[in-house]
Symmetry: C2
Subunit: 390 residues, 2 copies
Amino acid sequence: MDYTILLNLAILIFTAKAFALLARRIGAPQVVGEILAGLLVGPAVINLVKPDDVLEIFAEIGVIMLMFSAGLGTDLKQLKKSGLKSFVIAAVGVAVPLVGGFVLYGIFYGFAMPPSQSFYTALFMGTILTATSVSITVAALSEMGKLSSEVGTTIVGAAVIDDVIGIVVLTCVVGSAGGGGNVGMVLVKIAAFFVVALGVGMVVHKAMEWLDAKHPHSQRIPIYSLAFCFALAYAAQKFFGIADITGAYAAGIVLCTIKDTEYVEKKIDISSYMLFGPVFFACIGLKTDLSGLNLSILGFSVCFILVALVTKVIGCGFAAKVCGYKWMDSLRIGTGMMTRGEVALIVAQMGLSAGVLDSVYFPAVILLIIVSSVVTPIFLKLLFAKGGDS
Amino acid sequence: MDYTILLNLAILIFTAKAFALLARRIGAPQVVGEILAGLLVGPAVINLVKPDDVLEIFAEIGVIMLMFSAGLGTDLKQLKKSGLKSFVIAAVGVAVPLVGGFVLYGIFYGFAMPPSQSFYTALFMGTILTATSVSITVAALSEMGKLSSEVGTTIVGAAVIDDVIGIVVLTCVVGSAGGGGNVGMVLVKIAAFFVVALGVGMVVHKAMEWLDAKHPHSQRIPIYSLAFCFALAYAAQKFFGIADITGAYAAGIVLCTIKDTEYVEKKIDISSYMLFGPVFFACIGLKTDLSGLNLSILGFSVCFILVALVTKVIGCGFAAKVCGYKWMDSLRIGTGMMTRGEVALIVAQMGLSAGVLDSVYFPAVILLIIVSSVVTPIFLKLLFAKGGDS
């Protein structure tokens, strides 16, 4: 066994917590500190910890636990109320950045028509911008105690739906660019996942309620819950081509109304904040390699990031306003949807494999993840501090 | 990323908990159920989960957390009182099985003198039997609430010292069998580790006490504690050639008298029982491959296991009696020291690399781990139920 993982974990959880407390002291959200801690100890700065497969797995379990906990904390009535609105916000919030990325590439490098290579590159730029990564927002909202508010529920709901829409868009783009992927098949799989999740979820929910009545507050409740979460996350990714964190969120929803929900949530939260959570956020910083940057790419990157943030705020915020939210809440929703995460990188990776994207644009994507992850919680905090009940 | 780990974890924690509860229902310790769950879902029976590097790491963190928790729960006064006794028990408990294994091999395959190959093979058989794996015993004692009793402290102390003596013996044997390793160097390293652990430990202890006074019951206390545990475990293994779990136990001892010790222990225990602990115990069963067994090896294995168990009970029990323990407590101590674990496998592995041991004896070692892990908790439970205060 390679024991380096022990040292890596020790460094990451220690620095992440120390920087998180520092961030809190200056009024910033703790997750920002955790990301910067990763950036500092990682290859980008002092190169003490190198990202590897094992850390990747710990980080993945971290985000799975985070989303599971968000699902567990869901106010189901609230979600039912905001479900349709979330869908509209997600859809518009995918469309506007998609167009924005396409146009930005055209402005920089010229517009083109299919079947030109340039057209598909531009389309991929747009596709990279579609998927919101809700984990940072969830952590920030949770820190402020706003996660189960109407705005919080709408954001998380929209981000999950956005993920699904993003997959459909990606499949269409890859398909049309000449890669594999069948749009109809993808839609069938997505529908199948929700049918299966609903069916299995009802059985698991009943079983857990029965267990809960028989052995309240016993270890088996949170352990079986976590096993269910892992299983559904795995199944989503493996059999339905949906992000594992969507599966974890669905598992949380399934268990959000049992008697011991709060008990389960507490155990998951402890497991998460002791180890997996900090590792996840630190890994975002850790994976950042800024060495490929030059001035031209940097210029594009700055515009890319601006377009990414602005189009989400406008798209989602406008849709929220149309759905009947007040201006302030619309702005909060738009801002909460700004974060991009590993999905953006995965899309970029697929563009590279499909031969339509150059790896020279990777730093732009990584910077987008960093910047959006750092500024979104700060903006959210400011917007919620501004008052106006949500 | 390979998502199989999610499925593996889901299966392991679910079946481990289910079997643990089943074991408890029939009056056996829960860890026995967890090991059998691993045996069942692993390659030995239904082959649903295959052991891999990532599971190995989760298991290792599981045993590290277990030993850290045992260290945290140490009654320091008790340990000081039983320290010398633990040392004597450990030393005799290493010597008797060493001779036992040597003699057993001689009886089966003939005695030989150095520099004959056979002599070293026999010596290795003995060496495999030296190291007690205390994790199972710790879990069983903890389940019975006897971990911080005088007997419990003596056992854990002896097992940790035994580990150190085992390393010295192994180095001598490998060295004399023609492999590398310098006995003097090993002893220096071991002494250096305890000096460093003591020095660093005093600083960390002071720092944590200061932090504890300033921010009692805050998340940073258990997080920094865990980081320290990982770091010391890593350092022990990497720089001093001592088992990582010894480092983790030492880290626990360092922090066993701060104000928030109990708070830290609780958070570690939750992180452990939710995921890492069950994975560790299930992995023992998981790694068992019984396919290489034949009748002749099976015969040797049975005797090998009997010798392993009996020599530890006699060696440690006799030493305990000499040290002034009552008969019942001496028997409990001897029994608690019977368990063998991954160290036995590591020794066997080293014998294979050194060319003095055939892999045909591996199932015997694995069976020893399984059998000792299963019977020790059961015997302990019976012995403690028999009464006689400890």
